[in-house]
Amino acid sequence: MKERVTYILSRVLELMITLLLVSLLTFAAFSIIPGDTARTILGPSASPEQVEALREKMGLNDPLLFRYLSWLKGAFTGDLGNSTSFNQPVSSLIISRLPVTFGLSFLSLCLVLVISYPSAVISSRRPGKFWDQVFSVFGHVSFAIPPFVLSLVSVLIASKLFGYFAVGKYASPSKDFGQYIYCLLLPAFCVAVPKIAMTFKFLRASILTEKSNDYVRTSKSRGLSDIKIMFRHILPNSNVSVITALSIVLSDLLGGSLIVEQVFNLPGLGRLLIQAIGRRDFPLLSGIVFYLAAMMVIVYFAADVLMNMCDPRLRKNRGDSL
């Protein structure tokens, strides 16, 4: 137990350092790229004196390190500065978009798990046979379909033909939770399809590798049925490698999906990012980039800890084996 606590603590420390480095790089990058924030705000017709006055007011004339430190201080207290185009604090802008992005990510992840696991298990039972072929073809197709085609086609089918799913509408979860889920279901499906294909492929390969391992033979020689061996031994062992794939999927989902949000007219992070880029809103942009990096680091951290919990071989310093 003590080892595990030490392990997690040391990983948390590493996580902090990584986040710090990420923030430094983000900040530096946005300070280096051309474009004067004050000029952007005031517009082309402003006089140089006005721009200079605003620069002074915004602290843009201070040394880079000083500005970074004050930004960092703000970031710690949840203040990422003010968006120049929305005239709102960056942090509240990002937070207002999170329900959509988190909801979409969560629903998509559920779809990924619910669909890819059963199909991979069925597929790997008899590799190369009928069901394996069927699932593999589906996998290839859904991997190859561009997201915008998939979104448009599903909007067409769902809304025009059946009238299901509220397309182009969105309800805030605090007002009407049922409606909120309902609105997100179809977009979540569109986001999930390529991820399902990816997870399915990964899991199928992993199951097939585990299947040829000696411990499967041992369990067979003890009289266990194939299904029991699958659920008791093969799947837990496959999970260890699939966690990596799932962490890639999740960090991708949490970044928001530009196209799907656009097609379904959802106020998610992806659209905010497009708007920030379009309006050269550097404080907002650096806030979002920092959020994305932080999400990615946190997801990978969680995956690492999860893997460590699943696989005793990854826990170092235990026992005396070499």
Binding site: G223, P236, R318, G319, S321
Partner: protein
């Protein structure tokens, strides 16, 4: 049901993989008495494992049993459905396998791994299961069984894992245990103790054992009767005593001499270097080990300490010790794969070839043999013209006794012995001064092993290449080396001319290895197996 003295009767068993040309077993017939240990001996690919797997019906998917009958405990197994077979497996027919390192689920503790045998076949409470497993673990020789119960497989040594697997196999006191090469990947001392354990369990539970091995001389002291299989047919059978003292069948006699590695009967000749010749490798005060990370601190733990020795040009030197004594770490340090903590390694001409234990893992499955033979040249930045290259390849292949048509093939299309030859041919491509062979025989059956040893002798005498032969097998060392170094717990404990050291051992470990060796390969004394 009438009383039968046989637990297993196999009659006219034939097996193929879909067509007549793939026929693997030809009319195999044998009986196994209750409480008897029957050895099934033959080289790789002879069908001994298929015979055993037929009994428990764990055959590969495409294998077909075309004819024959298998009567187990009075019941015809050929009529059993898969469900009937599952009830028998683990309960009445238990199996243990060759590779204990991978035969346990790595994510589960020993308890969880063994528990499934009980949950599958009996209705017990968790405490009952726990106490049954504890008792069995004690029975197979774990004094601190409580501690073992909560460990994960990677925290156990190979021998311990095999004991855990044996405990799992015996939990329900099966009538028949099928042991498929249970000792092949273990060192001599561990092998001996595992065999003794199986023998005593067999007597205690009145269990019959079908023991599969390629090593005829081990089987001698262990089995009551022996069947010799060649190419899917039983070519010889009899009680162990007769077969080992007086092998009538020439095939059996050949197996026996391959297994015993008697230099005279195999015509093995290695160089006897003069004392004045130069060194091809000199190791002085070498310590090396591995780094491990504890949080942010790095710790280095030395595995080998203060190793000094030298190998003369053309000399053949043996390095012995049981598993975990540091042999492999030493090899890695000499090859430059591991940075030594202190000490120096001088190889005077810098040309070194290495042959590893497992020829399956060493070759890249995606490339042809020609690519593999080119590899050492590229690594050493040796540029040859096309003619020179072809000539070197031809000479290397000739030296290891392989034909030229093998060049276009892939590693998966070769047998274990052929792969090990390729590994040696790869060394020869750069015409090395020294070949380090780390357990080159232990993944091979006795016949291929004897051939590889002959090949090393030929290279040693014809090319005057020095050889450092690492092994836990004293027969190999005795047959192939003139000087021997004994290691224990990372230190050299003894060295000297091979015959002197092995006939008059000074260190504890050499004595132990010798005792294990003689016990393991002792000739049968009409039945009784000695237990300590």
């Amino acid at each position: 049901m009438s009383y039968s003295k046989y637990i297993l009767q196999v009659k006219d068993l034939s097996l193929d993989f879909g067509s007549e040309s793939t026929k693997t077993l030809h009319d195999i017939s044998f009986d196994l008495r209750k409480g008897e240990i029957l050895g099934l001996i033959g080289n790789s690919g002879c069908g001994k494992t298929m015979t055993a797997l037929s009994v428990s019906r764990l055959l590969p998917k495409d294998a077909r049993l075309t004819s024959g009958s298998i009567v187990f405990d009075g019941k015809e197994l050929m009529d059993h459905t898969e469900k009937d077979m599952r009830e028998l497996r683990g309960k009445d027919i238990a199996m243990i396998f060759q590779e204990p390192y991978t035969a346990l689920d790595p994510l589960k503790t020993v308890f969880k791994n063994l528990e499934e045998v009980l949950t599958e076949h009996e209705v017990l409470t968790k405490d009952e299961r726990r106490s049954r497993i504890l008792n069995m673990l004690k029975r197979v020789g774990f004094d601190e069984a409580e501690d073992i119960l909560g460990r994960y497989p990677h925290e156990l040594s190979g021998g311990q894992r095999q004991r855990v697997l044996i405990a799992g196999a015996c939990l329900l006191k099966p009538k028949l245990m099928i042991a498929d090469e249970p000792t092949s990947s273990l060192d001599t001392i561990t092998s001996m103790s595992i065999l003794e354990l199986i023998k005593s369990l067999c007597a205690e539970f009145m269990m019959s054992v079908l023991f599969i091995s390629h090593d005829l001389s081990i089987v001698g002291g262990f089995c009551d009767r022996v069947l010799v299989i060649e190419k899917g047919r039983i070519v010889d059978s009899g009680n162990a005593f007769d077969l080992l003292y007086n092998p009538k069948n020439p095939y059996t006699a050949g197996l026996l001499s391959d297994s015993r590695l008697d230099p005279k009967s195999l015509d093995l000749k290695f160089n006897k270097p003069s004392f004045s010749s130069e060194c091809s490798l000199r190791v002085k005060g070498l310590s090396a080990g591995y780094e491990s990370t504890h949080g942010f601190r790095k710790k280095k733990k030395d595995i080998i300490h203060d190793i000094s020795f030298k190998i003369l040009n053309g000399e053949s030197v043996g390095l012995i010790g049981s598993s975990g004594c540091g042999k492999t770490t030493l090899t890695r340090a000499i090859c430059g794969l591991l940075k030594p903590t202190s000490g120096t390694i001088t190889d005077t001409k810098g040309k070194l070839g290495v042959v590893f234990q497992d020829p399956v893992m060493c070759l890249n499955p995606a490339h042809t043999i020609r690519w593999h033979l080119n590899e050492p040249l590229k690594a050493n930045k040796i540029k040859l013209t096309k003619e020179e290259l072809n000539k070197t390849i031809r000479e290397s292949l000739e030296a290891v006794g392989l034909e030229k048509d093998i060049l276009g093939r892939y590693p998966s299309q070769l047998s274990g012995g052929q792969r090990q030859r390729i590994a040696i041919a790869m060394c020869l491509m750069i015409n090395p001064n020294l070949i380090i062979a780390d357990e080159p025989l232990s993944a091979l059956d006795t016949t291929s092993g004897a051939r590889i040893l002959k090949l090393l002798a030929k290279i040693n005498t014809e090319r005057n290449t020095s050889i450092l032969l690492i092994s836990h097998n004293l027969r190999v060392i005795r047959a192939a080396t003139s000087y021997v170094i004994v290691m224990d717990q990372g230190r050299i404990v003894e060295d000297g001319p091979t015959l002197n050291v092995l006939s008059n051992p000074q260190s504890e470990i050499t004595k132990k290895l010798l005792l294990a060796e003689t016990t393991l390969h002792r000739n049968p004394d009409k039945g009784q197996f000695m237990t300590e």
